[in-house]
Symmetry: C2
């Protein structure tokens, strides 16, 4: 690996402290203290500001995310018995209650694990693959690694076999491709590769990045489209014009991470930086700061109600993407962008009283909801950012 750019010593140390202490002393303990269901297994992620339980329903995709996180803590930080025990506790629930008879995974089940919702998406599968892959590396369970590969193959099949993922729009009238498909395949394959299926994963990582480059990156409009026509055409409707800057910026760092793993590969680096540059320009709110949730390709109004709210996770993704962009390029612009989004996020999202981050702010940065977890927000984007940025900065120090 080529030497990577690093902020000055003082800045680096200060940032490491923020990320590491935030992860180990705040965010991970918040969830461990409040979400574990000792009685029925699994986790209850719907939590109030102070960790109070808002619902006993259990969300499968968040189970995969937490098991992945706990396993990565064991791999990247230290092999703590508590983390490994909890990861296995979560995996046991996924295996016992996550799958319907036809093999498709549920979105949610009740406290006892009885089926509640099945959705058309494959996010439960994707994060179960990641959880199985990372956990198998900690506990050496080769059968679990095999199962991860099998589930990844099954998930790929859902995207290609008709009838599994029903399109929202009639494909005879309006064929559409979704950016979330290559995104989730890319991200799942990157995690799975560390455990098993290296050549299968490499193939799908390359295919997914190529699909992002050729279909979803629209050079005319300098934007990553969230949905596009079969050949990448802009669909000029409310839905077709809607951009999700935080989502594209997440893809940017997946691709930059791939560039890093491949010796700072210049082509991949260029793709990742282009996405980051475009979508930062599309998403950063010049009036109040922070990243807008949705913007329109032509600057027209978005139809989704929460378009101008500030959600926690786009900020987590942008903090990773800008820091990684700086590490790979040494360009001060990215260090400045990192400072900008890191500072805005840390000034507005963390809960000074009960810890962890608020998830939903108004455009002006005031808190809209005090909840810490629900069916969408769990122990994932915040701690993944803290772990990734801490390790990136620590690696940089070691190689300098």
């Amino acid at each position: 690996m080529k030497q990577m750019a690093q902020p000055d010593r003082r800045t680096t140390d200060a940032l490491i402290t923020v990320y590491r202490d935030g992860l180990l002393n705040d965010v991970v303990p918040f969830w461990i203290n409040h979400c574990v269901d000792e009685r029925h297994g699994g986790f209850t992620f719907a939590l109030d500001r102070d960790g109070g339980l808002l619902s006993t329903d259990k969300y499968l995709w968040l189970h995969g995310r937490f098991v992945w996180l706990l396993s990565e803590l064991c791999l990247q930080v230290e092999r703590r018995a508590q983390w490994l025990d909890l990861a296995e506790h979560g995996m046991a629930f996924i295996l016992a209650h996550g799958f319907a008879e036809n093999g498709k995974m549920y979105f949610s089940v009740d406290r006892q694990g009885r089926p509640l919702r099945m959705r058309r998406y494959v996010f439960s599968e994707a994060f179960a693959v990641m959880a199985m892959a990372s956990l198998s590396r900690v506990n050496g369970d080769a059968a679990l690694a095999d199962r991860a590969v099998a589930l990844f193959r099954q998930m790929l099949e859902y995207f290609t076999k008709p009838g599994w993922i029903e399109p929202k729009f009639d494909p005879r009238t309006r064929p559409m491709r979704g950016f979330s498909t290559p995104m989730i395949i890319l991200s799942t394959a990157q995690v799975l590769r560390e455990a098993a299926g290296a050549s299968l994963c490499r193939e799908w990582i390359d295919r997914s990045i190529a699909e992002i480059e050729t279909v979803f990156m629209n050079h005319e409009h300098k934007a990553v489209l969230e949905t596009a026509g079969p050949g990448g055409e802009l669909i000029d409707t409310l839905e077709g014009r809607t951009l999700t800057p935080g989502h594209a910026i997440e893809a940017a760092w997946f691709i930059l991470h791939e560039a890093k793993l491949r010796g700072n590969d210049p082509a991949l680096r260029k793709t990742g930086l282009t996405i980051l540059d475009w979508m930062w320009a599309r998403g950063w709110d010049p009036e109040y700061g922070g990243l807008l949730y949705y913007t329109d390709v032509h600057g027209l109004p978005c139809s989704e109600y929460w378009h101008d709210m500030k959600f926690w996770w786009p900020h987590n993704e942008a903090i990773i993407a800008t820091l990684l962009a700086y590490a790979l390029t040494g360009e001060e612009t990215y260090l400045e962008m990192h400072r900008q989004v890191h500072d805005w996020a840390h000034a507005h999202f963390p809960d000074p009283e009960y810890g962890e981050w608020f998830g939903y702010l108004h455009r002006d940065g005031t808190v809209s909801s005090r909840l810490k977890g629900n069916q969408w927000k769990g122990p994932f984007h915040v701690p993944r950012m803290q772990l990734y940025c801490w390790q990136l900065l620590a690696d940089g120090k070691r190689t300098q």
Copy 2:
């Protein structure tokens, strides 16, 4: 009809001016000038602030709503050729492009009328019934009135025949009833009754109100539940606790309207007033004024992102409900509530530059989106309020 309470002469005249002029000189012209597709038929409701087109997609349920409105203008205001022509223009599009082969109606089609989205709900059907019923009264088309009755029967079947409306939650684990079912049946039957199917409609009006009273009105919590267990039990989850005050207040005035038609029926009036009182207390924002979109039965955080935004339509429904409550009771409290919500709404929603109302405000009343129409907002709640309140006040003057 018993004599109804009326604000003092000056207030009454001033309110009539606001509603009548808003309807005839602002809102109806805005839509007529911008949404009519002369080339392919039907209407394009996705409009920017100045009436600029945001999408050529066509939303069937909004077609039903606009045809209903235009027909009611002919019935309640005057028989204007332009209104009748446009109502028939809209109905022609619904009949030509609204129905799938299995008889279910689409949610949206493209500009040429080709199928785009089919949703599980029956709102396209409900508003097509209302459109057919009201239009048949204007143009004397008896076959259209029959078709309205047949479509109403079909819609009722969807609620009872398994497989048509797939429940979101597995009914084996969590059987749930939705408040929107009796609401939409009640509202559809009230409109249809004026044209045809009187005894069928009367039966379903009574059944729907009884279902609201026995299942969804929760006296322990003084709240109308949006979803409930089979016997009206509160489901203590994020979804089960979520109240939609504006929706319940809409039901309140449907029931108060029924009370009015039945000679100020005391039992119906009590039901309507109870719902209004409960849900006003649940929804009115003591900090910024206006009605919150969602609140939680126990005051816990809501999970829907836009819970604290101020949408146009709950205000329209509350303006009707409070004015009607005052008319039926003469209680000053309701006149005060009417003034409160009328003033807040008129101070924040109307667009002073291009007319019509903004739809989506932040909690503090600032504008979140400048759009005037999309797949949800069209010519319905604002003009229905203006027409209803104008006629109510004008009737009151005539009988005094």
